[in-house]
């Protein structure tokens, strides 16, 4: 875990309210890990957790949606600007062999790209609210990409759980809204396919020290930042 100041290489809008931020430097993150990110002094006070979208020899990138003040400030960054990073943090996706399905809903696709790139032969299911984005990028690193869109603006009309069937997979990794993850848990359980989910919680420290990011699991409260963000779905208490 390092605390570094990185330079912005690029910060490109890839869809309405969605940006891809690339930072220069050498990083050691594994797929599914995240960084605490900031590009401001004390307002807002806290850093924002963002999953690693991609990493290579030249740098690291994050895919983020503009939600509030922090991500709005990130969206204004230009090449050469400074960004504070703490990380890599969290456990990342498990390293399993076999046929893996990656399922992402909305910005839940962010932690799946680097996983697909490392896995090489994964099937990727992407669910968008409206027009899809980054599908070609995923297609370059995945075995197959299937896309859904709630408005039918591209891919199959509906949500990502409509196009995903767990049969034949050795494991499934998913990230997205809680109802989507809970629905996936039901279908994967029925098919006896192990499901791992990347969860979100409000974070202050991001390193495991403040106990602010608690989620309920069958073992009691766990820290999303330290014990996760990836959890076996079988351990998560969904109505938590």
């Amino acid at each position: 875990m390092d605390v570094v100041e990185a330079r912005v290489a690029s910060n490109v809008r890839v869809a309405a309210g969605v940006f891809l931020l690339k930072l220069e430097g050498k990083y050691s993150a594994a797929p599914g890990q995240f960084y605490m990110v900031r590009a401001w002094a004390r307002d807002p006070l806290l850093s924002r957790p963002l999953s690693v979208f991609d990493r290579d020899e030249n740098g690291i990138s994050f895919l983020y949606g503009v939600r509030g003040r922090g991500t709005e400030l990130l969206s204004r960054l230009s090449p050469g600007d400074a960004v504070g990073l703490t990380g890599p943090l969290g456990n990342g996706w498990p390293q399993r062999a076999g046929r893996i399905a990656l399922v992402g809903g909305g910005l839940g696709i962010a932690p799946l790209y680097y996983a697909a790139k490392i896995l090489r032969n994964a099937d990727v299911y992407l669910g968008f609210a409206d027009a899809p984005y980054l599908v070609d990028e995923f297609a370059r690193v995945a075995a197959r990409v299937l896309v859904s869109s709630e408005t039918g603006a591209g891919g199959t009309e509906g949500v990502v759980t409509d196009i995903f069937r767990p049969d034949g997979y050795d494991a499934c990794y998913a990230c997205g809204p809680l109802p989507m993850l809970a629905a996936l848990d039901r279908v994967c359980r029925r098919a006896e396919v192990p499901l791992h989910v990347s969860l979100e919680a409000r974070m202050a420290c991001g390193v495991g020290a403040c106990l602010g990011c608690a989620v309920r699991t069958v073992h009691g409260y766990a820290r999303v930042c330290r014990d996760g963000p990836v959890f076996p779905a079988s351990e998560v208490i969904w109505d938590g």
């Binding site: 605390v3 307002d43 006070l45 420290c205 020290a209 938590g240």
Partner: protein, 299 residues
Amino acid sequence: MGDMTVVVGGLRLKNPVIAAAGTFGFGAEYGEIYDPARLGAVCTKGLTLRPRDGNPPPRLHETACGLLNSIGLQNPGIDAFIREELPRMKEQGITVIANVWGDSPAEYEQAVARLCDSPVDAIELNVSCPNVSQGGPVGEDARRTARVVRRARRACTVPLWVKLPPAGGIAVARAAQEEGADAVSTVNTFRGMAIDIETGRPVFANVVAGLSGPAIKPIALRIVYELAGALTIPVVGIGGISDWRDALEFIMAGAHAVQVGTANFVDPLAAVRIVAGLERYMDEKGIGNWEVIRGSAQR
């Protein structure tokens, strides 16, 4: 070079910068970034006799220059702390201050007795957590505070600090002093709240949560100034300290040492940066020891 050491209520610290309870875990996490033994001391997460699950999420809410938390003293219990965390901390050379909470004077006494049999360097009695009891914390009432400190003092052979809430006032601090506290530390978080305007309901299940961070600094500084002027035992200053300049203000207000809490979240290196900043300040101003400037604002 100036002498950074300071003696606070029977405890000798290599420098006056302490990691505040609940913001630094047991030192293991930030220990991956720097050696916590570089700090004057580390206050542990609030410990209780029995393990506690803590409050249901959400537990955090950001405010303008502040942070509301409702952790609810989630901790593994004193026995597990002594068995699993303390040996590692001592091995690393960390000066350990055990922050302790009890839900009755008897429980405080038992908890303190248990810790006194362990190699902790000092105990900080937390009579000021806003997140675990209905109504105000014990430390907002002089008589209840006196009762708790008396029982704890009886059980305690190591330095005993009492961590006071912002709303306790001088009467409570004097009660702690009279019952034998070696020092007081203040402030704990202010009782605050937030409302979710979509649902119209309080953000936190407990309604009330604790406010910390830069937003509270001027008020915390005023409280430390008042207590330092009124007490004969040392005061440890806490509240919104983000850099060495903030730390100096608290020392000039009369604090013997300071604690750094929320700033650790803003910059994981905040506490060691404050140590370095104070060191530089001493050198540049040619200050030999803290007594030269401590309480300068009182004079």
